[in-house]
């Protein structure tokens, strides 16, 4: 089976796309990313002849619509678009308009939302097409357990992009921690205005080393974003100790399901930090292992793919289970 992917505009879309690609490749499928600057969509379809076209809502335009419609007419095995609605609180008007055209032309059988069930329902009501919640998940290929290295050791680590909207939360949660005598390190894109911001990480091995060697890895976002970030799964994948900020009820349920330690506000963060920083290595290992075990039971990209392909009557359950069994050894 051949999968064609749109590149994805935002960092998060790209991250999800990489997760999908890695998982599909590990199952033996062919994946190609289409770069719109290099080749037009019609040529791409003619040359590659994909079975599935995975496209992010933010990448949608009329050309895609036409290309998919033509491919449906021409090919014996028509391309099935898997469209991810981008993660906004409301339905994006431009995305909605284009997706309605897809529905009109009967090109769209399912839609996938990179968010929780409530967001998926919003799309379902809007378009009348079954919409599945398809959250970011754990990428078993990119994020792996690292080794103990004192050069990368820290008490608290946060890896994330600096955005204006994150400033109030950073001021409440992150920045004060540096004044508590703790070894706090911040990484990510966007030039954080703080001395312990040490730059962006472009290498997965280094990422794993940093996360694995940090005593606590914070995961927080701003609540208005309604974004479910892949960050927490990256931490789990590297066998790091996660401490997540609760965004909403759905998020809380997921954190509880995965048994991930969480905090709701600055006060709770401080109390949890005190608690977990005093934990010995053994109890920390126990928590980390439990979280990892829970995550690979249900929340890897392999599970997401299995769920999506089952809607198209393709059963890959056994292959997925085998892969997960291999990686958990």
């Amino acid at each position: 089976m051949k999968f064609l992917f749109s590149a994805g505009k935002g960092l998060e879309a790209q991250s999800v796309r990489l997760g999908w690609q890695n998982a599909l490749r590990s199952l033996g499928y062919t994946c190609v990313v289409w770069n719109e600057d290099e080749k037009n969509i019609f040529d791409m379809f003619d040359e590659f002849q994909p079975n599935f076209f995975v496209i992010f809502g933010e990448d949608l335009d009329r050309a895609h619509l036409k290309a998919i419609a033509e491919s449906h007419k021409k090919a014996e095995c028509p391309c099935i678009p898997i469209i991810f609605a981008t993660h906004r609180d409301n339905v994006d008007e431009k995305e909605k308009y284009l997706l309605e055209k897809f529905v009109e032309k009967k090109l769209l059988t399912h839609l996938f939302s990179v968010d929780f069930q409530n967001h998926a329902k919003l799309w379902e009501e809007c378009l009348g097409v079954p919409t599945l919640s398809c959250l970011p998940a754990l990428d078993l290929i990119r994020y792996k357990q690292s080794v103990i290295d004192n050069m990368y050791a820290s008490d608290i680590t946060f890896i994330g992009q600096y955005e204006n909207k994150k400033i109030p939360f950073a001021c409440e949660f992150l920045f004060p921690l540096s004044n508590q005598g703790l070894k706090v390190k911040i990484f990510g894109y966007g030039d954080w205005p703080i001395a312990n911001y040490l730059g962006s990480i472009s290498n997965y091995d280094i990422f794993s080393k940093i996360v694995f060697n940090s005593r606590i890895n914070l995961s927080f976002s701003y609540p208005e974003s309604k974004t479910f970030s892949e960050r927490i799964f990256k931490i789990i994948g590297c066998h790091g100790f996660p401490l997540a900020h609760v965004l909403n009820e759905n998020h809380l349920n997921l954190l509880k399901e995965l048994e991930i330690p969480y905090f709701r506000d600055g006060k709770e963060l401080v109390s949890k930090l005190i608690l977990f920083l005093h934990h010995d290595q053994y109890s920390r290992e126990q928590i980390k292992n439990l979280v990892y075990k829970k995550a690979i039971e249900k929340h890897t990209y392999l599970h997401r793919i299995e769920q999506v392909l089952s809607l198209f009557d393709i059963n890959i359950k056994d292959a997925v289970h085998e892969k997960i069994r291999d990686s958990s050894k």
Binding site: M151, D191, A195, N196, L198, S200, I201, S202, I206
Partner: protein, 160 residues
């Protein structure tokens, strides 16, 4: 005669260069057993006349004395020079704070490089460097004090 190389970005009008030239001139007026050589990356008009030789930093490739670098650029250059026996990084500025779009791996390779012995100018800098990069700052030398720099390099127990 003992040698000492010091690499700076330039010998123009900046605090590091002024202090370095002034202190080196004073030091050389008293001590004749040390041969100081200044390396610069950019040639700029000197604000104070140097009483020691200066040359372009590319000449470090043939230099055989212990050398102190003072910036990330010069530190990056010196790491792979085989002829320099001892390499010191005198962290005058916390440069990683000002770099736009910095890459952690590149900075980590310099600050934690085992070939470089770290020196800095005050206690606060040392604390921050140790906290951020998990490395030990070997000595704190204020205001580019050449006497202290020389004693750090030549008068520690294991040195020849």
């Amino acid at each position: 005669m003992k040698k000492l190389g010091i690499a700076v970005n330039n010998f123009g009008a900046n605090q590091l260069s002024c202090l370095l030239i002034e202190n080196a001139n004073k030091f050389l007026a008293k001590r004749y057993d040390i041969d100081i050589l200044g390396f610069y990356e950019n040639s700029i008009k000197y604000t104070i006349t140097c009483n020691f030789a200066t040359m372009q930093s590319v000449e470090m490739w043939g230099y055989t004395g212990p050398t102190i670098v003072t910036s990330l650029n010069t530190a990056h250059d010196i790491i792979n020079i085989p002829s320099i026996p001892k390499k010191y990084f005198y962290i005058w500025d916390l440069e990683w704070l000002f770099i736009k779009g910095k890459d952690y791996q590149k900075l980590h390779e310099i600050y934690t490089n085992p070939k470089l012995t770290l020196l800095t100018r005050n206690e606060d800098y040392a604390k921050l460097i140790e906290q951020c990069w998990n490395v030990r700052v070997a000595n704190i030398i204020e205001d580019c004090n050449i006497e202290k720099l020389v004693s750090t390099i030549y008068e520690t127990r294991n040195d020849s």
